[in-house]
């Protein structure tokens, strides 16, 4: 059995995969300040659902996959460790100068970005290694001891060491680490040549500093998670979702916490792609609407959006992570987004969120600020008695009072109009996020499909589609837990790299075969050593290379792990030119090709998801009923509410209507049509104008 847990800002989601392709979903509030409590809560909920004890459920679990936004939240809110940066004498401004670059040529209203580690916590080590690895100036140990004293005095909690050319000769970084281990025992250290052995000191230093700054918080968290799940009976192995849209051993994550930096949203496109491909093979906007954030990504022709140059914050203004990752845009908008009216009479929704604690007013846990969820409740979109399958009763009157006094009165609106305004403003914010990744890239959202994921997606996904003139909205059955489900569909993946320069004009077949055989052995050992592996294991081989004096490599796949002595590099050379032409429209067919690095990528599916994951249906709750609800087009009226699990397939429902399940509510706007299909609900938004509607 496999469990996948996704700790979001508001809810902790759990997907149970029994191995037969049938998923069960559980959802429980995220707990703060100790999110592990929420993980154990949702596991207990699942155990109850399965009719077992927590101990028994965890004992039967062979893979436990974990995803958390803890790392990125720590970076964005500045709650990372007090981190120092040690670098080569003469180069203290690597993080300040970065690689230059600026957008928006005439707009000088954007301030110059501060370095990830301030100059006052940057220290210069007396040493220098040359480009060829020679020691130009030996390491002066006394300079490191002196720095160690200052680090102690400054109360530094983590140290990043990035020396020039450590990737060619790591001796000095290793020596610095040895001194720090002795002088600052227990203070975690990241060495750049170990974390990210790549050329270009800014990228290496930036990843190194981000990684070090996350170590204390992530190590504490993962250690606690492992031990508490162990105490509760978990026998299987733990894995963590990575920014690369795959999963990795949790011990690897503790060593390299930067891997989890963008892991939260990275899984939504992985699962969103699955549904978009199954239905309509073109461009899909995958949205994941949670309680706190709204994540959007663009899946084109089935390709997961990928970026090699990941920035935390805007391009050239934030920090480059130095690691490739799945490309997802996140904004602060969700069910928990707080609505307020400022002194000038302007309505605001978000980015502040009520989170899970205290949560929206209607949760009755002490929240006093009205949220998007409160507005949806007032409008009749959410059933107060059926939230989370009836496990949490919602306080409608408290929500009405909060919106009436804090929003409706200051704006001079009726209660219903105030609640509509809150939803509409949240919708507008989400549309802006979608336009960022579509319109601003020259993609017309009209020609795309929206995949509505996340527990809050159904509230306004149809409204968003109407505004963008999208013709199709898909709500996967597992949409409410899109990220957790994505992890179940993802791959165990690890890359093995060897940096060794070789010119194809002097191609050494024997040497090349030794390099690739070494990579193959490492990759195979990785696959053999993982219980999760076993389905469709694949090892792919690549080289990265370029023409002479180019500085950016292109990746070319090898035909296999063995070069034939008579063919030599001929096929590789042919493929390199072809690939160069394909990407850049030209090739220099007779020129030399320089191989810079060799890679093996080991992949293994952890579930057989090709048939499509289905949700195990719960027994229908109450069947069809009628509820009073409000739409901008119609005003308040009684409209039908359908139970998702009881809705027959291929039997269209026309809005105004609500389709709801324990985990989600889909608002079908007036005139829009919804059809249940295997594994998903498909909605065609009404794009016209209703009769009698004002202009």
């Amino acid at each position: 059995m496999r469990l996948s847990v996704d700790v979001g800002g508001t809810f902790t989601d759990l997907v149970v995969d029994d191995g037969a392709g049938l998923l069960k979903v559980y959802k429980s509030p995220t707990t703060s300040p100790d999110p592990i409590e929420g993980v154990l809560d949702v596991v207990a909920l699942a155990a109850a659902g399965e009719g077992r004890t927590t101990q028994a459920l965890l004992a039967a679990t062979d893979m436990f996959i974990h995803s958390t936004t803890r790392a990125i939240n720590a970076v964005v809110t500045g709650k990372t460790a007090h981190t120092a940066f040690l670098t080569t004498r003469g180069h203290p401004d690597i993080l300040l100068v970065r690689e230059g670059g600026r957008t928006d040529a005439f707009n000088y209203r954007i301030p110059y970005p501060a370095p990830y580690v301030p100059r006052s916590l940057t220290f210069e080590v007396e040493e220098r290694i040359g480009a060829d690895g020679r020691i130009v100036r030996p390491l002066v140990a006394a300079s490191v001891h002196d720095i160690a004293d200052r680090l102690k005095a400054a109360g530094v909690e983590a140290v990043a060491v990035c020396l020039l050319w450590s990737i060619v000769n790591p001796a000095h970084e290793l020596a610095v680490a040895a001194i720090l281990a002795e002088r600052l025992p227990g203070v975690p250290v990241t060495l750049s040549h170990q974390l990210n052995p790549s050329l270009r000191e800014y990228r290496r230093a930036s990843s190194c500093c981000i990684d070090a700054s996350l170590k204390p918080v992530m190590t504490r968290y993962l250690r606690a998670l492992t031990s508490r799940l162990g105490e509760s009976g978990l026998a299987g192995k733990m894995f963590a979702v990575t920014s690369q849209g795959g999963i990795a051993d949790i011990e690897e994550l503790a060593e390299r916490p930067i891997l989890s930096l963008n892991s939260g949203p990275s899984m939504a496109p992985v699962s969103g792609r699955h549904y978009a491909l199954a239905e309509h093979g073109h461009t899909a906007i995958v949205t994941d609407a949670g309680g706190t954030t709204y994540d959007v990504s663009l899946v084109r022709n089935g390709a997961i959006p990928w970026t090699r140059e990941t920035w935390i914050g805007p391009l050239y203004q934030g920090h480059m992570t130095g690691f490739p990752s799945v490309d997802v845009k996140s904004i602060g908008a969700g069910g928990g987004s707080i609505a307020s009216v400022d002194g000038g009479g302007m309505l605001h929704v978000g980015p502040q969120s009520a989170g899970s604690n205290p949560g929206p007013v209607c949760y009755g846990r002490g929240g006093i600020h009205p949220t998007v969820t409160d507005a949806a409740l007032v409008l009749g979109y959410i059933d107060p008695d059926f939230f989370l399958g009836g496990r949490m009763a919602l306080a409608v009157e408290a929500a009405r009072t909060a919106i009436a006094t804090q929003i409706a009165q200051p704006l001079g609106l009726s209660l219903d109009d105030a609640a509509l305004a809150i939803i509409e403003l949240a919708t507008e914010t989400m549309i802006n996020a979608i336009e960022e990744i579509t319109v601003k890239q020259g993609i017309d959202p009209e020609d795309t499909t929206i995949v509505g994921g996340g527990g809050a997606a159904g509230l306004n996904a149809v409204a968003i589609a109407r505004r963008l003139k999208c013709r199709t909205v898909l709500f996967p059955e597992v949409g409410a837990v899109l990220s957790a489900a994505g992890a179940i569909m993802s791959e165990l993946r690890r890359e093995f790299v060897r940096t060794e320069f070789m010119r194809v004009s002097h191609f050494d077949v024997a040497r090349a075969n030794v390099i690739v055989a070494g990579l193959r052995a490492e990759a195979q050992a990785f696959l053999d050593g993982n219980v999760g592996a076993g389905r469709d294991t694949v090892i792919d081989y690549f080289i990265e290379g370029h023409y002479p004096s180019q500085v950016w490599e292109i990746e070319v796949a090898l035909e296999g792990p063995i070069f034939d002595a008579t063919v030599g590099a001929a096929n590789l050379i042919r493929d390199f030119h072809a690939r160069h032409r394909e990407i850049f429209s030209f090739a220099d067919d007779h020129d030399e090709v320089e191989i810079v690095s060799w890679r093996a990528v080991a992949r293994s599916r952890i579930a057989d998801s090709r048939a499509g994951l289905r949700l195990a249906t719960a027994p229908p709750a109450t069947g069809e009923r009628v509820r009073s609800m409000v739409f901008r087009d119609t005003g308040r009226l009684d409209a039908p509410v359908y139970d998702l699990d009881a809705l027959p397939q291929d039997h269209p429902v026309t809005g105004p209507a609500i389709i709801e399940s324990s985990f989600t509510t889909i608002v079908v706007d007036p005139g829009s049509r919804a059809v249940r299909q295997p594994a998903q609900i498909v909605v065609e938004p009404f794009l016209g104008r209703l009769a009698g509607q004002g202009g």
Partner: protein, 587 residues
């Protein structure tokens, strides 16, 4: 006023415009990823742009302003002038500063794009600063060249280098015989043609997908939209006129007190026009810093756009509201052949831009900015020599390690990695490791210089100290480090930055001072020391937020002494603002 167009039209217009910008972005990506010289593949010293069949600039997204704001139009026109018979498959090499190009080192590949019926619809440009262009000395900045002959670059006035998508080998062979490290040039040429062909392919795709009428018709709407936006913007500005002067360092053959750039600026919000008059300036000189027409027009325009209160798309539409007055044979005007414009993109062009934006600040204190740190110091010089690691193979390249600091503006401190005003901070600064891998040099230092900024309510960015030396050989370097005599000036009470400085320091301790414009050898036992010029400050430094001053001290940007003497801020022993003493100092 006719009714506002329905929102959906605005959205459609924006989508189409972003698609065009996507075209130039794809071109730029191709050029960066495939070029062979460091100045292109690491420093990104290039631009990609797109003009209409009428040669009006449609987009230069992510390009250096100085490269293409004006000039892309002039170059496209030069092609039609010399070649009325343009055909699909043509490509043109253009670097003539007498026919719309910036300076001879900026090779530009232009490709006219045709629809399925053979009608010329657009022209795409890829312009890149070459590592070498065949000058008489191994530098692309010949500050003291007395004319184009002494410069020595091959000049290509819109020369057809491809026909039917095939290279004209005669032209290439000429370049291979004149340009240093010819294979590097050839690789860069292929990358530029590749980028232009990517642009052509993407536009043809747009035409096929969306219809040529819609794609071509977009430009007119976008220009009108941009002009309307410019009208709204200027109408809300304060009217007035001001003259400001910024002075380039003296060069041999120039007036002894330097080369002045006077800008007479008029903002007329009633007539909704801005005028920049550059005609009251001296004639061209027998030096390399004369501006080309493209650079004169653009430099003035950059000063205007930098000073607008809100962002306005920069294209032929918004340009209708800005008049730039030039005269022939003026040093910041229209040079006549064979005047040298070898250094036209940076030095004197920046002085023009800075004069314009300081004048804008005089007209309206809530606009404009101080003077940007002058370029370009040895830290961005052209280095050349023989690489002992590769059997003495020749190398030549402009390294971009540091440049001028950004000016303080009416609302912000200067942008640290500005480089020059004309580049607007868009170049990438070289990676130390990449530069050391590709050249026989070691960069010992790159750090900001405390107390070098132009002080102000909003301070300029500081200068940068860069030190580098050859490894196992001697090398040569060329640069024109303006700001050595005349540092960047402040605006509205802001102070000037500390001047640039450069010298060679031998291991023996012997120091060889260097002037503004030099072409010298750096011996194996010498260190090249380069202090770049910071940006000027904006407004009275004694009005700077004391908390910002305290932060600058804490982070090592300025000394505590300077905080007291210049910014009139006293700090206690823990580095916090001493409010009482500060108030007394500022009283």
């Amino acid at each position: 006023m006719d009714g506002a167009p329905p929102r959906i039209d605005g959205v459609k217009l924006a989508i189409m415009q972003k698609r065009f910008e996507g075209v130039t972005r794809k071109m730029a990506n191709t050029l960066l990823r495939t070029a062979r010289s460091g100045v292109i593949n690491t420093a990104r010293d290039f631009s990609c742009a797109l003009v209409t069949a009428d040669c009006d600039l449609l987009t230069a997204a992510d390009s250096y302003p100085i490269h293409v704001l004006r000039g892309a139009d002039l170059m496209a026109r030069a092609i039609l002038h010399f070649h009325p018979d343009v055909k699909p498959g043509d490509a043109f090499l253009h670097n003539s500063p007498y026919h719309g190009n910036t300076h001879a080192a900026d090779h530009t590949i232009l490709v006219p794009v045709f629809d399925d019926r053979g009608v010329h619809r657009f022209t795409v440009l890829a312009k890149a600063h070459q590592a070498d262009c065949g000058n008489s000395l191994p530098t692309t900045y010949m500050g003291t060249a007395r004319d184009v002959y002494q410069e020595g670059a091959l000049i290509f006035p819109a020369v057809r280098v491809q026909q039917d998508y095939r290279d004209n080998l005669d032209v290439m062979n000429m370049c291979m015989m004149r340009i240093r490290v010819p294979n590097q040039w050839r690789g860069d040429y292929l990358a530029m043609v590749g980028a232009a062909r990517i642009g052509e392919r993407e536009i043809v795709r747009m035409g096929e997908e969306l219809g040529w009428a819609a794609v071509a018709g977009h430009a007119r709407q976008w220009f009108n939209f941009s002009e309307r936006r410019m009208v709204e913007t200027i109408a809300a500005m304060r009217s007035g006129r001001a003259r400001m002067t910024c002075i380039h360092d003296p060069l041999p053959q120039s007036p002894g007190d330097g080369i002045a750039a006077n800008a007479d600026v008029i903002v007329d919000s009633a007539a909704v026009r801005i005028t920049v008059d550059l005609t009251d300036n001296i004639d061209c000189l027998p030096v390399g810093v004369n501006l080309s027409e493209a650079c004169s027009r653009t430099a003035a325009m950059v000063g205007v756009f930098n000073s607008l209160p809100q962002s306005v798309p920069a294209n032929a539409g918004s340009f209708r509201r800005v008049d730039v007055r030039l005269r022939e044979n003026c040093i910041v005007g229209i040079p006549l052949h064979p005047t040298s414009t070898s250094v036209a993109t940076t030095n004197l062009a920046d002085r023009v831009t800075s004069a314009v934006q300081r004048a804008m600040a005089e007209i309206d204190p809530a606009l404009g900015m101080a003077e940007g740190g002058a370029g370009i110091p040895p830290a961005s010089g052209v280095i050349s020599g023989r690489d002992p690691r590769h059997g003495g193979a020749l190398f030549v390249n402009e390294v971009i390690l540091a440049g001028g600091g950004g000016p303080g503006t009416f609302s912000n401190d200067g942008w640290l990695s500005l480089f020059t005003m004309g580049n607007g901070g868009m170049p990438f600064y070289d990676s130390i490791e990449i530069d050391e891998l590709h050249h026989p040099i070691r960069i010992e230092t790159r750090r900001i210089v405390p107390d070098s900024e132009g002080a102000g309510t909003y301070r300029g960015a500081p200068g940068v100290l860069t030190e580098f030396r050859p490894v196992d050989c001697d090398i040569e370097i060329g640069f024109v480090s303006d700001g050595t005599v005349n540092p960047a000036l402040g605006a509205r009470g802001g102070q000037p930055a500390i001047p640039a400085r450069q010298f060679l320091r031998a291991d023996s301790g012997a120091v060889t001072p260097l002037g503004t414009s030099e072409q010298v050898t750096i011996r194996n036992d010498q260190l090249m020391v380069s202090y770049s010029n910071g940006g000027g400050g904006f407004g009275d430094p004694a009005k700077r937020d004391p908390e910002k001053v305290a932060e600058d001290v804490r982070e090592g940007w300025i000394s505590a002494a300077r905080a007291t003497t210049v910014y009139k801020v006293a700090l206690d022993e823990t580095g916090r603002v001493d409010v009482v003493t500060t108030a007394a100092l500022r009283a």
